[in-house]
């Protein structure tokens, strides 16, 4: 898309500041000479590196771990399904026991109780 402002622009070429590769090389080169002559940056490079790496890989790491957990869970469930159904009566008995004692099951108990049920 064209920019309508371009047609109305003021000619500033007489300023004599056109693009100049030599100028960029000279200025950037001068800065880089000064930078490379410096001591390593104030913060410890090792510490900075570790922190940077942790920060960089934190979210991708979490995503990868979640993916592994989902795949592993699905694999376990499908394996158990293939092994056959649990007895519904056993499940019902366990639920009744929890209700009677007021026990609040944790994730592991729930998983073990309903393990392999095709519901």
């Amino acid at each position: 898309m064209t920019d309508p402002d371009r047609d109305d622009r003021i000619d500033l070429s007489a300023l004599g500041i056109s693009h100049d590769d030599g100028q960029m090389k000279r200025v950037v080169g001068g800065a880089m000479d000064r930078i490379r002559a410096m001591e390593p940056r104030a913060s410890s490079p090792e510490d900075t590196s570790i922190l940077t790496e942790v920060a960089r890989w934190w979210y991708p790491g979490l995503a990868a771990a979640a993916l592994v957990a989902v795949v592993a869970g699905a694999t376990v469930l499908s394996g158990n399904m293939r092994r056959g159904r649990y007895d519904d009566a056993q499940v019902a008995a366990r639920l009744a026991e929890w209700a009677r004692t007021g026990h609040v099951p944790d994730n592991g108990e729930l998983f073990a109780t309903f393990h392999g049920l095709d519901r």
Partner: protein
Amino acid sequence: MTESDASLVARARSGDASAFETLIQRHFRGAFLVAMAHLGERSDAEDVCQDAFVRCWERIDDCRDAAKFGAWLLRTVRNTAHNRREYLAVRAVQPLDDADGVASVASPESELDRRELRAVLWNALRQLGDIQREVVLLHDHEGWPHAEVAARLDISELMSRRHLSDARRILRGLLQDDDPRMEAERD
């Protein structure tokens, strides 16, 4: 594929000077023009750019949004140029004992004309606000679209358009009784 600013900043933070060099090459032109907008002298603008680049390397951890490295760099250049301008203003009122001979260098007539024309333009530009001068240089001289000007100067596109419009109106008013040399230069 071109590596993103954010990725280059991450490498620079871990001490990779070549990644930083790529960054400042990428943003050099904008940095130089912002420095010019504040100083009007090529050599001063170059010095300021070099100082600002070194300062950015030293403080790269302060660049909170690595994807906006360009805007951060230009802000540093602007601050450095501002300090330099104040320093030059103080120095300008002091006698320059060692300046003898500089003004006596003979220049060809065409070079004199060019210098005068440049001076007319810079005098007009100096009547603008700092941000107006930056916008008009980046847009009208460098040809950047408003989206790019806005991103680098960390302003909205609307404000970029407004600053440009105001700057052009002021400049046209100042230059309308133009020195005929300006027309000659354009031809």
